[in-house]
């Protein structure tokens, strides 16, 4: 089973890079192609790679299903919440200009926040779907979404 060992080593090296790249895409979206969505996908795939190689059981210990579920909801809530914040601070819904003193800074902050929300939900969604698909073919007692 040596090739698995190789895989493990390679992926141990690779996965942090992938996750880092995800973060890069997350925050680089302003300047080049990319953004929360793509970042979320990459982050999700990185984690799925991890799960594939080290087994879903291990992966579930690292990120339990409950966490992904909450992350899934938290991401959209963050996005929506930014919108509500716009109302509370006296602007329109999803108006980022009022988030900070300076309109441009507000826009920047708003975009960063919602991109983060997007990334969170997307990554969580991918991991959830993966768990669910991977969690098939087992009896009801040990299946944990």
């Amino acid at each position: 089973m040596s090739h698995i060992a190789v895989l493990r080593v390679v992926s141990k090296l690779l996965i942090p890079v992938i996750l880092l790249f995800a973060l890069y895409v997350q925050f680089h979206g302003d300047f080049g192609p990319g953004g929360g969505f793509q970042a979320g996908v990459i982050f999700g795939s990185g984690f799925i790679l991890y799960a594939l190689i080290f087994g879903t059981a291990v992966a579930r210990r690292v990120v339990p299903a409950a966490i992904t579920r909450i992350a899934l909801a938290a991401g959209v809530l963050l996005y929506g919440g930014v919108g509500v914040a716009g109302i509370v601070l006296g602007g329109q819904y999803l108006d980022y200009s009022v988030l900070a003193d300076d309109a441009l800074a507000g826009q920047h902050l708003g975009i960063a926040l919602i991109e983060f929300g997007v990334g969170l939900t997307v990554a969580a969604a991918m991991i959830t779907i993966f768990y669910v698909f991977a969690g098939q073919d087992r009896g009801p007692e040990d299946a944990e979404q």
């Binding site: 809530l77 929506g80 329109q92 819904y93």
Partner: protein, 493 residues
């Protein structure tokens, strides 16, 4: 301060409540969240209707970006009216869902049902409120995806294939809509509906816009199940959980009709769409065929939910028919029937949901003599059924009156005959149920059943009562519908 933000709160409230449901997970809490959110949405919708009645259409630029650049929420009278219908049905369905869902959906899925329900509600309200053609697509998909899931929640395995077919048809419809929007964007450079209306006349004669119109029409007709694009609907309504059927039947197709109205009377307001490509004739012919054939098929159904589904197809025909007159009375008839049909179909499906709750299946065999054992449920069914026939003092009568009047005004006697013929068929299929339910003896060995729980009966009777209330005093609804129609036509030719 809140008043100014109602247009967006209307949608965001149920939208944001959905993830909360996922977080709290406990069925009771999820239910509470769903109930609060949908009642909140209802209050918001009512507030909006009042605002619109007072001060005319409301525009709300989301993100503070002015209309053609940002996404605009634009509520005119029709939009507000549809929002009220949808959120009212939503508010009534939620208390009903509590017992019904416990019976029909696995316990560990209940919180997800509420989540899906809220998403669907938000999607439908978003469609009603939006003034942006592409935003409409996004919310269409939210509501569509959640309704596929809700249908598949049923325990019957056929619900799965039905949901799958619905998904395929729905996605094709949405994609067609997307193609239509793309073609329009190509020729005008804008996605905002009002802006489109202003810019379309210039290019109205181009073949591209004609193609766009064709794609929009076909796409939306797939969603609203106009004959012959209706094949997904009967099974979907038959096998879905009862609450889901009641909710979707009362709202989803109505919203699709609303989208069609939006396309013809807002986006293409300054273009004489009905003259193009025989659209009026085609729509009318399809509506008439739908009214007659679906009613005729309904007469032969033994599963009552399926029977009601076919009846829905016929009623959709009425709405499309009213719209295709493109006259004040005709459009009024279409819009008022939108409201009225939501009430009666909601009541009917909810009554059948009560039967399913006790007997698992609502078919002609199981309800023999049920009028004695579940009198309140069956009485609600009778009220809804009479409404469907169009007996006076029910809402169905008001719709029928307006539509027949529109046909007489337009001097279209064949249409009058068709409306009347479809009503006659309605007598046949409704009465089969009433007769079996009330005037057949209870068969030997029939299970002894109690009346449905009050949490289900009260919502059912709320809708049944509304059928009568708005049938006796139709002034408010009619005037709102008439004003909406006048508004829609006013900006048109």
């Amino acid at each position: 301060m809140i008043g100014g933000h109602l247009p967006v709160l209307l949608v965001v409230l149920p939208l944001m409540a959905a993830p909360v449901c996922v977080v709290v997970r406990r069925p009771a809490w999820a239910w509470t969240v769903a109930a609060l959110a949908s009642w909140g949405a209802f209050v918001a919708a009512l507030g909006l209707l009042l605002q619109v009645l007072e001060g005319g259409p409301i525009s709300y630029p989301i993100g503070g970006w002015a209309a053609p650049w940002g996404i605009e929420y634009r509520l005119d009278l029709v939009g507000a009216f549809v929002a009220v219908i949808v959120s009212a049905i939503g508010g009534i369905v939620v208390p009903y869902a509590r017992s019904s869902i416990e019976r029909e959906v696995a316990a560990d899925r209940i919180y997800l049902f509420y989540c899906m329900y809220l998403l669907c509600l938000a999607g439908l309200l978003g469609i009603a409120a939006t003034g942006d053609a592409f935003n409409l697509f996004v919310f269409l998909e939210i509501s569509a995806l959640s309704s596929y899931v809700m249908i598949a929640l049923a325990q019957d395995r056929r619900a799965l294939t039905v949901a799958y077919r619905y998904l395929i048809m729905g996605t094709i419809g949405a994609t067609f809509y997307l193609i239509g929007v793309g073609l329009m964007y190509m020729m005008t450079g804008t996605l905002n509906m009002a802006d489109l209306a202003a810019r379309l006349p210039e290019v109205a004669e181009t073949r591209t816009i004609l193609a766009a119109l064709a794609f929009l029409t076909v796409g939306i007709c797939l969603k609203l199940a106009l004959f012959p694009l209706h094949l997904w609907l009967p099974n979907a309504y038959t096998y879905a959980p009862s609450v889901v059927t009641a909710f979707l039947a009362a709202t989803a197709t109505k919203v699709a009709v609303y989208v069609l109205i939006r396309v013809y009377f807002t986006i293409f307001a300054n273009v004489d769409v009905f003259e193009a490509m025989f659209l009026r004739e085609v729509l009318m012919a399809l509506a008439v065929v739908a009214m007659l054939s679906a009613s005729a098929i309904a007469v032969f159904q033994t599963n009552i939910k399926r029977m009601l589904a076919y009846s829905s197809l016929a009623q959709i025909g009425y709405m499309v028919l009213g719209m295709s007159f493109a006259t004040l009375t005709g459009l009024t008839g279409g819009i008022i029937h939108l409201f009225n049909h939501a009430l009666m179909k909601g009541a009917l499906f909810m009554a059948m949901g009560c039967v399913v709750f006790r007997l698992q299946v609502a078919s002609l065999d199981t309800i023999e003599g049920l009028g004695r054992r579940m009198p309140a449920t069956m009485a609600a069914f009778v009220v809804g059924g009479l409404s469907l026939i169009g007996v006076p003092l029910t809402v169905g009568f008001v719709s029928k009156w307006t539509l027949v009047l529109a046909a007489i005004e337009a001097n279209m006697w064949p249409i009058v005959v068709a409306i009347v013929g479809s009503s006659l068929l309605a007598i046949a299929y409704v009465w089969r149920v009433v007769e079996t339910g009330f005037f057949r003896p209870t068969p030997e060995g029939a299970p002894a059943v109690a009346e449905a729980p009050l949490s289900m009966l009260i919502p059912t009777w709320l809708l049944a009562g509304a059928c009568v209330w708005f049938g006796i005093d139709a002034r408010t609804t009619l005037s709102v519908a008439r004003q909406s129609a006048a508004f829609l036509l006013g900006s048109g030719p």
